[in-house]
């Protein structure tokens, strides 16, 4: 009985406070890329202006360097780089605003745009973060709080600093596991749904096996509709020639796949196609537009895409990361040469005469960075506005496809567009299909509520 009594008493003693708000949470507020943020004051050791860091080679891009804080060497991290927020260039000779944070096991400095004030609030008023605040991934947020007339986004320091370290360790492990599980996942897509379909299913199975053996083309949900439709055409074509449906040689696999490839594969884009893509390009704020072009081959599509972006977003800085794991193809890309009659109007303004025919102007070349890179390996690219990945997903096994779609998603900003092959289709949630003629694009939607999101990933 006595125990119950004391509890009742305790509750009673709290009651008088209910009317007024109890201030039990203080935070330091600061701004990043024009928005207001807050950090629990208990995590902040001090505030400082620092102008000289020692640069450390080989660190993450957001690690600006180390600093000697009265004899203690601490890492300095730039939140704006870490969260891909616009970086306000600092005047020469001026110091950066730095919050020195104290977490359980280490001290580090973070650079922010400006430090504002300390405010005290009731921790009950911290509302869960809404996924619409997508500047910073929702997993790094503690919540949102209204104070006076502004909204402050409260950052979760432990998770941010913890995740900064873990980020690198996780990805390769996922990629390595992929091939092992692949075989198991392929089968269910072709489970026969009825007796009369079993002959078709068998044929489809043969085609699937031969395509993957001859050309590494993997039939999956991504392209199943196309393969089925193509199989119908193929059957008619082959029977008119008096031959069977099956693919006996690699070049027959090429014949089968020929209509699969998107328009202008391995060529500079024609005007009609370019216009279709142009209509799907999203509006972009800020002065820079970045795009990622994995599987760029010899670079024809990278140049076409960069020229198109330059025309559409005139005046913005265009940055295209183009990469491929075909060393021979991509080695030629930076110095691509061609004959003048082959130039579509889109690229005409960028052509100059060179020693070996015609090439592109330096300004167009400067906007593209060609890299020899295997897309299954980790990469350091920051967030991008667009991903151009035509016809490449179909050449990875289903588990890798999943991982790549997730990777594209994590690299794309909300509202950014992923272009895939004309005959490919994303079945994952979180994307909205946008289509124009032969162009297949998917808009990245905002993340779902965190509880659902964990199941997806």
């Amino acid at each position: 009985m006595s125990a119950v009594d004391t509890e009742v008493q305790k509750e009673g003693s709290h009651r008088p406070d209910e009317g007024r708000e109890k201030i039990d949470f203080k935070m330091i507020t600061f701004s990043l890329g024009g928005r207001e943020y807050g950090i629990d004051i208990m995590k902040v050791k001090e505030i400082s202006k620092i102008d000289r860091f020692t640069y450390v080679p080989n660190g993450s891009p957001f690690l600006r360097g180390v600093y000697n804080l009265r004899g203690e060497i601490i890492p300095i991290i730039d939140f704006r780089i870490m969260f891909h927020l616009p970086l306000k260039p600092i005047e020469a000779g001026k110091a950066e605003n730095v919050l020195i944070l104290n977490t359980e096991d280490q001290v580090m400095g973070v650079i922010v745009d400006s430090i504002d004030k300390v405010i005290g609030v009731s921790s009950q008023r911290v509302k869960p973060a809404h996924p619409l605040f997508h500047d910073i991934n929702v997993q790094y947020l503690k919540g949102i709080i209204e104070y006076g007339s502004s909204l402050y986004i409260v950052l979760d320091v432990d998770r941010i600093l913890g995740i900064a370290e873990e980020r690198q360790a996780e990805r390769p492990a996922a990629a390595a596991e992929a091939p092992a599980v692949a075989a198991g996942l392929e089968a269910p897509a072709f489970a026969p749904s009825g007796e009369e379909e079993s002959a078709d299913t068998l044929e489809l199975g043969f085609i699937r096996d031969t395509l993957s053996a001859f050309r590494g083309f993997v039939v999956s949900d991504l392209n199943l509709d196309w393969v089925k439709a193509r199989l119908g055409e193929w059957r008619d074509l082959r029977s008119s020639e008096g031959r069977g449906v099956q693919l006996a040689e690699p070049n027959e696999a090429d014949d089968f796949l020929e209509p699969f490839y998107s328009p202008y594969t391995g060529e500079l884009w024609g005007e009609a196609y370019a216009r279709e893509i142009e209509e799907l390009l999203p509006d972009v704020s800020g002065g820079t537009l970045s795009a990622w072009n994995p599987g760029c081959g010899k670079g024809y599509e990278s140049y076409s895409f960069a020229a198109l972006l330059d025309r559409h977003y005139h005046g913005k800085r265009i940055k295209v990361w183009a990469n491929d794991n075909d060393l021979l193809g991509i080695s030629m890309a930076p110095t691509l040469a061609f004959h003048e009659e082959a130039i579509p109007p889109l690229l005409a303004p960028f052509v100059v005469k060179t020693r070996n025919g015609f090439g592109f102007k330096q300004e167009l070349k400067d906007s593209i960075l060609f890299e020899y890179h295997d897309i299954l390996h980790p990469n350091p690219f920051p967030e991008v506005d667009l991903v151009l990945a035509r016809d490449i997903l179909s050449f990875f096994n289903p588990v890798q496809q999943q991982a790549l779609v997730q990777l594209f998603r994590s690299k794309l900003r909300v509202g950014g567009i992923l272009f895939i092959g004309s005959n490919e289709r994303l079945v994952d949630s979180g994307w909205r299909e946008v289509r124009k003629g032969g162009v297949c694009g998917f808009e990245r939607l905002a993340d779902e509520e965190p509880s659902n999101k964990e199941q997806v990933t």
Partner: protein, 154 residues
Amino acid sequence: MRVEYINPFVEATFSILKEVLNTKVERGELYLKPTSHPVLGVAAIVGLAGDVEGRVLFDMARETAISIASIMNGEELTEFDELGKATIAELANMITAQAVTKLHDLGFRFDLTPPALITGINMEVSSPNVEALIVPVTLPQGKLEINVAIRERA
């Protein structure tokens, strides 16, 4: 890795190895490796900074290192002693420096760190978030792997 960087490293490797060892140098197929991989036994590392960040790692078995050092010094070494270590570090320095000179002519600005030599067994090297370009080289003295991990500065 940026395409323009590949050739200078491959060319420098061949011209320097040919010059100092005066022998036939065979190149294997270039390929990419993700973050971490085992090291053969002797590894010389030269760091790069400037427009880019990264490092070049020269990886070989201990016996290979000893016989290369023997040829370069014009005397037969039996142990991988101070002289041998200094020789391998210098070889790494020469190759990287020539590659960086070639890159400089192409308009890329790189700085080098002094070479560091690491020996031991069962070692592994990791460069988180950067994939490495592997240039495998076969010499009469044994196998040598040049492992270049460079990325653009953000």
